[in-house]
Subunit: 390 residues, 2 copies
DNA sequence: TTGAAAGCGCTAACAG
DNA sequence: CTGTTAGCGCTTTCAA
């Protein structure tokens, strides 16, 4: 019943498919090539020279291997070599482009070296994170990159001490000895806070991410720095929210507006929170930046096409991921080609531990900031799309 | 030099960390518990009943295992059981939220069953996809979910035939026997095209994704359907672009505007292309929807906060991912608890192969469509935020 | 220049 | 109720 002119597509690669459920093993190859498994192994592992295997034999073995579509079982290999070629990556939410990008960089960075990435999604829960760590450990990952939920680090430290290299990114911890990479959140926060302050804002509401997480604390610190430098203090009641989510931003905004009707600006610790905030403001009939100014962190591809393009501090996510990968590989004693790993503590001013890498961020000024409302000045946002790096 | 009041944090979980580089093995546990490895193995694998192991022994073994922080090596286990507990997921770009969400669903769906996800990012290149497939195969994945680059399926089919279950999602292939899950692109395209047509648009430019990919072909088909039903034909010159990217959308838009100045609407096959298009239009001083209407596929969290909220057909991504996971698990003979796997071919009208699952999409009408420009009517977009499912 | 054999850590007959 | 034994597929001494 096949069409008359049907030509069997004779696999040009010459690699035949093994019989289902009967994977071709090194033994098969050896047998078919008429050599021992040891010789076959050596021939295929580029050890021909080392063991002075005759070129003829080597070729023969390689040929047979190709014909049979042989692929050495990495699990058998792992067992023998005690190297799994697996790297674990655990993030709070892989559908968040921030974490996805980090995972991507790791994947791209290690793939060429024969490693593969085992992915874990902790759903922002420390307990799940914990479980995933165990699961991946059992799978014999050789190293772990984790973007922790951010509140608890004991299990990670212990793991690292037990001999499994762990590096953390983004939600790093205070004064911990785990190698960490993060954005320079303090400088970033200070810079973005300054654009608010320069316009005259003093009553600034803060939409906080997870309170106990270092990024949240550090960003708050940066804001405080800026305020102090401008000669005023932040009202402690101007802080609300406790998650890096849209919902949190929405709720916190409403809460803050009720707490202090004088508030003229919002400092959102992440884009989702800023979005939630904008919804809340819209519901209350506030226009941005006329009635309320707002700044945030991070960007997304269409940010400039929004109704109110946000002024933000954007993290260099790929850099973050690449750096984390480099640190990881260095701990595995694999030399990462991209470029030499820079020394930790790129940013000078803070008491950076011996293993904290900080990557600079970029300030993107758009049009979500104007002078405080009581002046009613509509045309206040002067500098648009001006970029400054620091 | 340590602080005077430093108390050693005595690990309350009671699970000691193994000596670095000297992982605790089943043998250790057995020895310490005074039993043989087999007994230890059985006790720890819940086979106590089956082998009638005395509760005392079982408890003892479990206790020792806990004390030592024992974790069975999955690689040894895999070798013996011939089951790796690994599922491969290959996507064109994990930093794209669409694919990230799919990966997420797979990860969440299989994690509870003890499986882990091995991630591969093909960077939209078939060659890399190919290489990743090999790499993951060597790592003994038990099944593969791939969102293919979309142009070539031979290697996947061959792989599946060779006994490794493969399921493809999104960029499925025509008339192929691999289990596939995708959105009902034809119906989706028809619906979104109809909102254009109902407003009177006839000169519709198409921003195509990868031409050879089935989603692109199918969406074009849906548009053609709608046009035919309305009694006109699409000009073949109104198609441009060949990638699911912003750049492609930008270039294609410029190209189309030059080719046909009469064009009044744009049909973008993905959000990035639509965004690129909007940039191009902005550069040429076109206002949306006054001077040009536009519809697209897929949504993103802030879509409604854009300058011009797009009318789109949105895919049910989590559903897509869950369905794919269910299909995967079924092929592994694991019963996926969530819900029974529905029969394939959800959508009735097309000659669906025995293993194609189609999931319905939702039409989201926002304000990027108005009547064609020559009437100059500014207030034409009537129905906003109206939702229709089909 | 090549083979034989041991063993990575675990499970599953097959005995007791 | 428990132990002995034989591998899973591979790498690597050690011997020829």
């Amino acid at each position: 019943m096949k069409p008359p002119n049907h030509r069997t597509p004779d696999t040009p690669q010459g690699s035949a498919s093994p019989a289902p459920g009967h994977p071709v093993t090194l033994k098969n190859v050896a047998a078919r090539a008429g050599v021992s498994v040891s010789t076959a192994s050596r021939a295929l592992n580029g050890q021909a020279r080392k063991y002075r295997i005759s070129p003829t034999t080597e070729k023969a073995v390689r040929q047979v291997a190709a014909d049979l579509g042989f692929q050495a079982s990495q699990v058998a290999r792992s067992l023998r070599l005690k190297r799994s070629g697996l790297i674990g990556v655990i993030v709070p939410d892989i559908s968040n482009p921030f974490f996805a990008s980090i995972a991507r960089e790791v994947s791209l960075g290690v793939e060429a070296l024969g490693f593969s990435v085992l992915l874990g999604d902790s759903r922002e829960e420390t307990e799940i994170e914990q479980r995933l760590v165990d699961q991946l450990r059992a799978k014999q990952v050789e190293a772990l990159l984790v973007c922790p939920v951010g509140v608890e680090s004991d299990h990670l430290v212990k793991l690292d001490r037990s001999g499994l290299p762990v590096v953390v990114a983004d939600r790093v911890f205070d004064g911990i000895e785990l190698p960490s990479v993060t954005s320079d959140n303090r400088a970033a926060a200070r810079a973005v806070a300054e654009v608010l302050i320069e316009q005259g804002h003093r009553k600034i509401g803060v939409l906080s991410g997870i309170r106990d997480s270092l990024p949240a604390k550090t960003r708050l610190q940066g804001l405080t720095d800026a305020a102090e430098q401008a000669g005023f203090n932040l009202d402690s009641s101007s802080l609300a929210g406790n998650a890096f989510t849209e919902q949190s931003g929405y709720d916190a905004t409403l809460e803050l507006m009720d707490r202090d009707p004088e508030m003229t600006a919002i400092f959102a610790m992440c884009t989702p929170a800023a979005i939630g905030s904008m919804r809340a403001l819209a519901e209350r009939g506030y226009a941005i930046p006329r009635d309320m100014s707002i700044v945030a962190f991070d960007d997304h591809p269409f940010a400039d096409l929004m109704k109110t393009p946000l002024t933000v501090s954007v993290q260099d996510i790929p850099r973050l991921g690449q750096l984390a990968t480099a640190v990881l590989l260095k701990r595995l004693d694999v030399d990462s080609s991209p470029q030499a790993l820079p020394p930790p503590g790129t940013s000078a001013d803070s008491p950076s531990s011996a293993s904290l890498w900080k990557v600079p961020t970029t300030l993107l000024q758009r049009s979500s900031v104007a002078v405080p409302r009581h002046k009613g000045d509509r045309a206040a946002s002067s500098r648009v799309q001006q970029t400054r790096s620091f």
